[in-house]
Symmetry: C2
Subunit: 316 residues, 2 copies
């Protein structure tokens, strides 16, 4: 993995992925006690950054590829489904049966074949390998795939171009670590004073624990509010990159996440899903864990069931 | 009023107003039966396009101006308050006492002095003139001000640059008509196949009625869901521009507005206020009132009380 792969992904994404805005509000600055810049990846096609990595990976496949298979709680699913449709490839998506209804429905509506499984009883990776083999499909891993990481890294290229900040923490919502690793690689090359920190929800802080332990420490697989970032462990490909570039991880509570969602509604006019709001929650509510006059939070996704968003507006 | 004034306003706004994105979703296209492009002015500073006109007007004031006074239900108020703070001018804002709490609070938090009045019993314009005279302030009218219209017209310059559509209706949420007139002037000069149509809520369609009658026909002053666009009549300065460039007006129901707000949440990850969603409501739910394969809706504001937004997510 190097910056050239990210630049090449950016070239393939030009005219397809949106350049998302870097937003701010004086009201959020007042809450955080420093300037807060929010990279609004919820405005990306399909409502999350995952479209970047998906299209980057699918455009790097060899000619003659019949179709693709992806495992996802919903955002990678939609990114792969849309990119596959644009490129004329078949897409089969393996999703947990308890994934948010909006994500299941959107994935199917984007033309993918959705296959569901039970998180508690199914070995997802084995099932995916079996399906890919039987159907002749190329497996597109959500984070253990170099082209996916390169695609997600284009978020970092945009941040470097959009801000004059050159000494700030960049907080990234972290599941398997593909986005975090890609952004860290991009910023390390283009704006090395911007330090990437992974952010996770309490009880699902496998990356923070793994960084502290110096080896991959898994979480038990279970459901939670922040479904988009509940991977059981950091990926094998991202983890060494995080170890090299990211220092420590940050951890936020569900109530901080709901409050960040409500403030994003009030102050940025953005709809964030819980997993997409963990970095903003840390930027707003963990002032002692962040250094510098400016903090940059990547808001990664907005695919939230209306009931969950209504709860955030009531409780947050 | 001419395109040179809009270009000059754009030059004064560069580096201050945000260039807001033009967004889309295949799911919205399916609802509307044609491609829908949404100009996300809810992402402008202060949550609405009004900052553009406010800053354009304040930067055109003569040297030595002591301060400014504005009348507004809340979005113009916040735009003037922020622009005044940036430029070091005092700002007094006259707001109806039943304006949304979030707008009253935001205006005060942006450093303006907020003075409230009763819509039913007070002659707002007389009160404003009296206050401006007594305090030595320059009145910044929300739409009967050429520099304000020029500033709002920069939305039209951006639309012309952001889309390849050259034969489409451009639907604009319409109160006094300042934004509608500014966008119409800009598009008439830069993309004359983009036809501007004002959109209003049912029961408050003074502009549609005035365009049909060929003279200004006022509505009774009263409160309603779409507070941002409930001006009693089109402005004297915008109306002749609308007559020349805009054809007929469109009218939507409150339930169509709530449904558009909910779909903007689901599909664009945007928070729209009711008055800011009337154009999108028309784009989605009035297919027979729109011509062409593409429709462009300007989403004008996102300053909505959490309770109202929760209602849209439940009922919409």
């Amino acid at each position: 993995m190097n910056i050239d792969m990210i630049d090449a992904a950016a070239a393939r994404l030009t005219g397809h992925a949106r350049v998302t805005p870097l937003l701010s509000s004086p009201f959020l600055d007042a809450v955080a006690g420093r300037r807060v810049l929010v990279k609004a990846e919820c405005l990306q096609h399909t409502g999350s950054f995952k479209y970047r990595g998906a299209r980057a990976a699918l455009t790097a496949l060899p000619d003659g590829t019949r179709g693709v298979l992806a495992c996802s709680s919903g955002n990678h699913a939609q990114g792969v489904a849309l990119a596959a449709r644009e490129l004329g490839l078949a897409a089969v998506i393996l999703m947990p049966q308890d994934a948010p209804r909006v994500k299941l429905d959107n994935t199917a509506a984007l033309g993918a074949e959705v296959v569901t499984y039970d998180r508690a009883t199914t070995d997802r990776d084995a099932y995916a390998a079996e399906l890919a083999q039987a159907r002749g499909l190329e497996l597109i891993h959500p984070f253990d795939n170099a082209q996916v990481i390169a695609g997600q890294g284009t978020v970092g290229l945009e941040i470097a171009a959009q801000t004059d900040a050159r000494d700030a923490d960049v907080l990234v919502c972290c599941g398997g670590g593909g986005l975090t690793a890609g952004v860290a690689l991009a910023l390390n090359a283009r704006a090395p004073g911007l330090r990437v920190r992974p952010v996770e929800p309490e009880g699902f802080d496998d990356t923070a624990q793994s960084l502290a332990a110096g080896r991959i420490v898994p979480n038990p697989a279970r459901a939670g509010l922040c479904d988009a970032v509940l991977t059981p462990a950091p990926g094998k490909l991202p983890f060494p990159i995080l170890q090299r570039l990211c220092g420590h991880g940050l951890v936020v509570t569900d109530s901080q996440v709901l409050a960040a969602m409500a403030l994003a509604q009030d102050r940025l006019k953005l709809v964030l899903e819980p997993g997409g709001a963990v970095a903003l929650a840390a930027a707003l509510f963990l002032p002692d864990a962040v250094a510098g006059d400016t903090v940059i939070a990547v808001a990664t996704g907005g695919n939230v069931d209306r009931d969950v968003f209504r709860r955030a507006l009531k409780e947050g």
